[in-house]
């Protein structure tokens, strides 16, 4: 009886881990899309009205970036610093962090003609990464769930 309860517990834990991994992957996609929206917004603000960055940051609202503390840090100390300060709360891959760092490193250093091109380039790059991640989301979610379930079954069988 005790062994059966243990096996059920192990199965539930493995299933939960699989669901959690799927959730984290989904959060990563949402964060990446939020960064893409931010870059598009910055590019539009610069292109249309040459709005200074501090004013763009102050007026920007996004629940995803607020929740992970990125926007507050962005307003306080700029993009690069915000990325490193919030790195542990961002579920992005190294490639994605690298692209975002390159974007914020170059942001605000160009002329009025060059700056929208800088934003457009990184908007396209992050957009591609977000689209790819979104495309893989359903498959990866299924994979994580299935892996969690199978692992749980396997461990339960071994225990029994």
């Amino acid at each position: 009886m005790l062994r059966l309860a243990g096996a059920a517990l192990i199965f539930a834990a493995s299933l939960a881990a699989g669901l959690c991994a799927a959730g984290m992957y989904r959060t990563r996609v949402i964060q990446l899309e939020a960064f893409h929206s931010l870059i598009v917004h910055i590019g539009r603000q610069i292109d249309s009205c040459l709005v200074p960055l501090d004013r763009i940051y102050a007026a920007y609202r996004d629940p995803v970036l607020e929740r992970c503390g990125f926007l507050a840090e962005l307003r306080r100390s700029g993009g690069e610093a915000a990325l490193s300060a919030c790195g542990y709360r961002l579920l992005l891959s190294d490639t994605e962090i690298h692209e975002l760092t390159a974007f914020f490193m170059g942001l605000g250093r160009h002329s009025a003609e060059e700056e929208p091109r800088h934003c457009a380039y990184f908007s396209a790059r992050i957009g591609e990464l977000a689209e790819k991640a979104r495309g893989e989301l359903a498959a990866k979610t299924r994979l994580c769930r299935a892996f969690g379930m199978l692992l749980g079954i396997m461990l339960a069988v071994i225990l029994l």
């Binding site: 040459l50 200074p52 960055l53 942001l107 605000g108 250093r109 002329s111 009025a112 060059e114 700056e115």
Partner: protein, 309 residues
């Protein structure tokens, strides 16, 4: 009476750390007074200097291209693109009355500066009370007399004009319109209790026109008069009964009157007098106290030496 300021925070933040450290080392060694610095000049691969009490003091350090670019970005508050218009005509408005002269290579189409090679960071000073003598000349309650203040560059016209605007708009509660074309006259901390309306970034002619038509000022104050459009607007403001206090570059009244536009204003009786300023030389050191000489409009300026007041 004289209130000195240290190096403004924004300047300290923007300068490369080794330049700031060097300035403070020299200040500690008594080779310069940090509170007396007028300009800090950074040049790529060449010596950085500070201008202090009229002397150029080499810092023995230079800056790299990357350091200068970083400095420009910081002076533009991280948004270089938003300062493109002023960079193209040779300066950055860094805020808090700090104007930075920009030197570099203009792109072939003339639309942008491709490579910035040196910066001249002008450090503003607050010297309360420095306008006392000029104030006695131009203010006779309840009227304000229009005067033109002249001096060679770097003597302190802007410092004096800033104090004058703050006094007229502050303790004397007059409606002052301050036209700050290059963002170097207006210091928020100095004007927070005043009745001054400030037009920042407007050309002088446009500023005078706006002030005359819409702001109903009791006096208009602006820096460095020059072109014929400005003269036209001043004549228009004068016909509306609004006095103007302005400055111009010249070392004497004679030199001042050699400028056709100033001459035209004089012939139209726009200014009631001309005040020249210079720094006092006390024990071989240029001090921050100003001397002022005054030539009333009705005196034959070419035949009389200005009298000191």
């Amino acid at each position: 009476m004289i209130e000195k300021t240290l190096l403004p925070t924004i300047v300290e933040v923007c300068l490369p750390a080794h330049i700031t450290a060097r300035i403070y080392t020299l200040a500690e060694n008594g080779r310069l007074h940090a509170a007396e610095i007028n300009e800090i000049r950074l040049r790529t691969g060449r010596p950085a200097t500070v201008t202090c009490e009229g002397k150029n003091i080499p810092l023995g350090e230079s800056v790299t291209v990357a350091e200068l670019a970083e400095c420009v970005t910081r002076l533009c508050h991280g948004s270089v693109y938003a300062h493109g218009d002023t960079i193209r005509v040779g300066y950055i408005q860094a805020g808090d009355g700090i104007r930075v002269g920009v030197c570099g290579t203009l792109a072939a189409d003339g639309r942008a500066v491709r490579e910035i090679t040196s910066l001249n960071i002008r450090v503003p000073h607050i010297i309360r009370g420095v306008c006392d003598r000029i104030l006695r000349l131009c203010y006779e309650a309840p009227s304000i007399k229009p005067i033109l203040i002249y001096s060679p560059p770097g003597v302190g016209k802007t410092t004096l004009l800033r104090d004058l605007a703050a006094r007229l708009g502050g303790e004397l509660t007059r409606r002052v319109v301050l036209i700050d074309t290059r963002g170097e006259l207006y210091l928020p901390e100095m004007f927070k209790e005043t009745l001054c309306d400030v037009l920042i970034g407007y050309g002088r002619a446009a500023g005078i026109e706006i002030a005359t038509r819409t702001l109903s000022p009791e006096v208009i104050i602006c820096d460095e008069l020059g072109d014929s459009e400005e003269v036209r607007q001043i004549l228009s403001a004068a016909s509306a009964g609004i006095p103007i206090i302005a400055t111009a570059h010249a070392s004497s009244v004679t030199e001042l009157m050699a400028k056709p536009n100033i001459r035209m204003l004089h012939e139209n009786g726009i200014f009631r007098g001309y005040a020249g300023i210079s720094r006092e030389n006390v024990n071989g050191m240029l001090s921050r106290c100003f001397t002022c000489s005054y030539t009333p409009h009705d005196s034959a300026f070419s035949e009389h030496e200005p009298c000191c007041v």
